[in-house]
Structures are given as C-alpha cells and as structure tokens.
Amino acid sequence: MKIYVPADALARALGADAVAAALAAAAAARGLVVQILRNGSRGMAWLEPLVEVETPEGRLAFGPFSGADAGALFDAPEAHPKALGLTEEVPFLKRQTRLTFARVGVIDPLDLADYEAEGGLAGLRRALAMRPEAVVAEVADSGLRGRGGAGFPTGIKWRTVAAAPGPQKYIVCNADEGDSGSFADRMLIEGDPFALIEGMAIAGLAVGADKGFVYIRSEYPDAIAVLGRALALARGAGLLGASVLGSGRGFDIELRVGAGSYVCGEETALLNSIEGKRGTVRAKPPLPAIEGLWGKPTVVNNVLSLATVPIILARGAGYYRDFGIGRSRGTMPLQLAGNVRFGGLFEVPFGLTLGEIVNDIGGGTASGRPVKAVQVGGPLGAWFPPALFDTPFGYEEFAAAGGLIGHAGLVVVDESADMLALARFAMEFCAVESCGKCTPCRIGSVRGVETLDRIAAGDGTAVPLLRDLCETMRLGSLCALGGFAPYPVLSALDHFPQDFARAREAAE
C-alpha cells in the first residue's frame, strides 16, 4: 500500500510529520506493510495535511488529516470521515491547468526516475538537440514573461545575454520570494526541484552559461534542504556537471541563502548579495544581462519562469502560447492567501477575472464576512475593492486598473480590515526594508508612517501631504520598493476614503 503525506513546509507546519508517524504506527499495529512517500503539496491549504492512498482507480484523498484519523484509514477507508474521493476529481484541482506545477504533489520530489516518468527531462533532451539560438527562439515564441514581478519577456532577456560578448556568463535564479501572499516558488522547489534545475540547465545551454546560482531566502529552510539534496542527486546522475546528460556541455548550480532582506529580491541587489556585499540596488543601465554577476552577462529569472521552460521545450512554444489572453500568454500559478476560504495554489491560464478568482475559486473569506479588498502582487501591489473585480488577470489589464499582478500572490481581507493601518504597514515595511540608496524611499517612507499617524489621529490636512509624498517616492526612487510602495497606500486611500476619515469624524 502506497501512502502519500506531503513534506511541503505548509503541510508540515500543520502537522504532516506527526501524521506520517501516526500512519506508520497504525499500519505496524495492524501488521500491514505500507510505503509512506513524502510528496509536495497539491496546494489546497485548507485540506492540509492531505493524505493520499494509491488505488488502481487513482489516488484517494483524505484531509485535513490528523494523527487520530490514521487507524480508520486502514480499518474502513470508504467510510473515513476525512475522505474526499479521487484526488484528481477534487473541484479545486480539476479546474486547474497545471503546466508549471504538473508534477508538484504528484511525484516524490527527490526521485529522478519518478521525475522522468512524469515527463521530466524531455525539454532538456530536446534543447540539447537544438542550436542554442533555436532554444532562445522557442522560449521567445512561447510568450513567457518573467513571473517575478516585472513581466519582462524571458526570451528577449535570454537573447540579450546570448548576444553579449565574453566567455563567462551566469544563470541566476531568483528564489527570494519575499512578497506576502506568495509561496509558489517555495512549493515548486519543495515539490519538484528538478523542474527548476532542468530549466536552469536549458537556460545555460541557450545563452552559453556554464554556471548557475539559486538565491533562496533564509525563511525557507525546507526548500533550501530539498534543493540542496536535489542538486547533489542531479550531479550524481549527470544532469549537472561537466557534461550535462553526456552532451559534452557543462552546467552546474550553486545554492546561496539570503539573510532576511526583502530588497535582495530586486535583481541587482540580489547580485550584490551573491557577491558577498550589502544588498543595495544598482543603477540600471547597465542591465544585468550585459553586466551582471561580477560584471558578467547574467540571466536573472524567477523560479517560476525557469521552471516553466522545460514544458515549453517539451511541448513546443505554440502549446504554451495558446493559453492566456492578450500579451499574457500561458498559465499563472495564482496564490490565494490571507482571509480566504479555499487558500492555496491554483494554476490557470491568464484571463479569469479577479472576482472569479476570489469568490468562485477562493470561496470568499475564511471568516464568512464580506470581502473588503484584495492586495495583488505583494506588499507593493495595489488593493483592489470588489468594484474592480471584473478586471481580467493579465499584466496589461491589471496595470490599466492601477495595479500589478506581480508574482500573483493575492491577499484577501474581510470588512474588519483597517485600510489605513494596512497603508501604514506598507510605508513601515518600505522603511524597514529600504536599501538606503535613495532619499525618497529611505526618508519618504518614514515620513509616510508619520503622515499616516497624523491622519489616524484625525488630521485631515495631512491627506494632501501623503499624496505629495507618494508622488515624490513614485518619481524619485531608483527601484520599485520606493517606487511602488505608494500603490498600496494610494489605492487604500482612493478606494476606502472612509477608513482615512474615521478618526476625523470621531473628533468632530
């Protein structure tokens, strides 16, 4: 009997290790021989820990599972109180189009044979048989855009690095994932690390880089451990090293761990951090593609961008490009978080409206109270009120509505949320995380906190000041930390003016 218990950090944080132990004990007590496999997460946070049992008809799901549910799984599985039926038929999963996350939760993340059996390495094999320019063209034709936030076309970035002169180039994977509400990078690395490794190897072959770095934030101890083991396995199997899959072309990857700095997710700060420096932002130009790590041409891509490359190579650019809307091609792993009933990871083609995502998929709030707002794209993303829920999920569509999709993390708050407090938090966060290089960000964010405190105390004359300050930050900041921190502040102010007037009304 084969049983799956996720080793994903979220499942473990909800007791998955104890569940695995209880299942082993209950099986032993019944004299049953079971194999307990630790997979990634299927991404349904409200059902974690989600236990699955393999049957000839497919896997059966049970959750949210606790140790006390273990015995019944063996004694009366059909009547089990936590039974959810076939995993693949659970509506939240069934409605998805999983391309980037196809194997996450399905395979044993550290079993290379399992990886290959589920379609892994097909993309790399095809890339090895192609000319590097053709690989870059395939990625460009797919329409894939950077999933880290800025949405820059990945193929164009690769072409720039490929064309840059010099013998030494680098592939850098940005796994800093600092945005609140985001966890797709973490889930991918914990659930299917070879997909990232394969994507980086393809990138290396395509642009002529023989060395890669993955920069993971220190807040992700499980992902760090899994990727470290996956890299060792990949080297052992000849997937990485002097001759990738026996091709005679070399590529290897080094893992680097961040140190608790949000701004190090910005690509040039990240490069400084890998170089062993303070994580301050560099002025652009030069672009990292021309002068990146140690001044060498460097591809910096998000985990999801790189992990999507294998399926594009395996299935062809057209297959991927056919999903999506407008200039947002392919699928996006949405992350539903905060006060949401059905939180987790939901990969779909671009194009659902925000309302469909929050209400139909997310099921509204966890508290049962009405949704007040949704912050899309992390701490620098705008708050969307329900009035904007008809906005289709796409880069241009969200920009037109005054926001951004960023890394596609969505934080839902219910009507009890205080938007002024959240605006203040955005400024405070910017002050804490500012790299200090430019005054509008470093000082402006501190002034922003003070100004919001004045508004909270009932001083309505501070509102125009806040707007001015936001304008100064927007225009005068070198990077998007200072430049975009005004988004959550102004969107809160514009859409929820009543939250900024409450103290004043009370005073009057």
Binding site: A9, L10, A13, L14, A45, W46, E48, E177, G178, D179, S180, G181, S182, F183, R186, S218, E219, Y220, P221, D222, A223, R256, V257, G258, A259, G260, S261, Y262, S273, I274, E275, G276, K277, R278, G279, T280, W294, Q335, L336, A337, G338, N339, V340, G343, G344, L345, A366, Q375, P379, G409, V411, V412, V413, D414, A417, L422, F425, F429, V432, E433
Partner: protein, 154 residues
C-alpha cells in the same frame, strides 16, 4: 581579542569556503550557526580571510536582518507580520506574545525567548504563521502559541 578556540573555528569556517566566489554571506551564516551570533571579535578575522576591510564586513553584517551582533535568548520566536497573516489575526497574536513574554520586538524575555518579526514565511494560505526555534507552525492562535511556548519550556 577572540578566544583561541573561536579563532580556530572561524579559521576553519573560512578555510571551508576558500576559493568560493562571494563567500561572505555563506561564511557569516556559518559563523552565526556556530556561535549563535556574529561576534564582533571575529570581524577582523573574516576581513583578513576575504581580503576586505573590517568596515566592509561590518557593513554587510549590519545590512542583513538575519545577522545578530549579540546572542539571542535560548529560544527564538519569529512571528510573521506581513499582510496575509495580518488578515488572519497576526497583530493580535503578536500582541499576545509581547504581553506574555513582557517584551517588544527584538526583546528577550526573562525566560529566554527572543521575539523577532518576520515578513512572510511562505505559509500565507494557512495564516497566521510563526517559527519557533526553526520549526514552522501555521494557523496559530493565541492558545496554540501558549502551548508551543510551554512545550519548548519557555
């Protein structure tokens, strides 16, 4: 002056990272894992090993939130302060922790618990989240936090 044993250990750590490009962060992580903080006496040793100035090493140590100049308490409790956790009661959870421990952020309680803020642990779909002594916990309420601290003997 650092203790001789500390000097030796730092030399070993630097040696283990010799030849690695941009080794300062990995070395600082290793030093902190060894001593629980980055002792100021070790900075000249690191500077020498990496052929940079002490001021540069100091600048890096102070830039990153993870590196401590002084030891933490026996227990380290990191509570997520970011938006998704706020949406599920993280502010109240943090206030309860502060009250119970009698400290503010970055303080260490009489019982040896250091309270630190953290901005997202990637568990935002099961908020609020925290990390106690390196172990993650999700969907934590005030009662559960109390149990966890009691179990840890804090």
């Amino acid at each position: 002056m650092p203790e001789p044993s500390q000097t030796n250990r730092v030399a070993e750590i630097c040696q283990a990272h010799a030849g690695r490009e941009g080794a300062l962060l990995p070395i600082l992580h290793a030093v902190q894992a060894e001593f629980g903080h980055v002792p100021s006496e070790t900075l000249p040793l690191l500077a020498k090993a990496l052929a940079v100035t002490v001021a540069e090493v100091q600048g890096v140590v102070s830039f990153y939130h993870d590196f401590r100049a002084a030891p933490a308490g026996r227990h380290v409790l990191k509570i997520c302060r970011a938006e998704a956790c706020q949406a599920m009661g993280a502010v109240a959870l943090a206030e309860a922790a502060k009250a119970r421990l009698g400290v503010d952020w970055h303080g260490t309680s009489a019982g040896g618990v250091t309270l630190e803020p953290v901005f997202c642990l990637g568990l935002c779909a099961a908020a609020p989240a925290l990390m106690l002594n390196g172990v993650l916990a999700a969907r934590v309420d005030v009662a559960r936090l109390g149990e966890m601290l009691a179990e840890a003997g804090a």
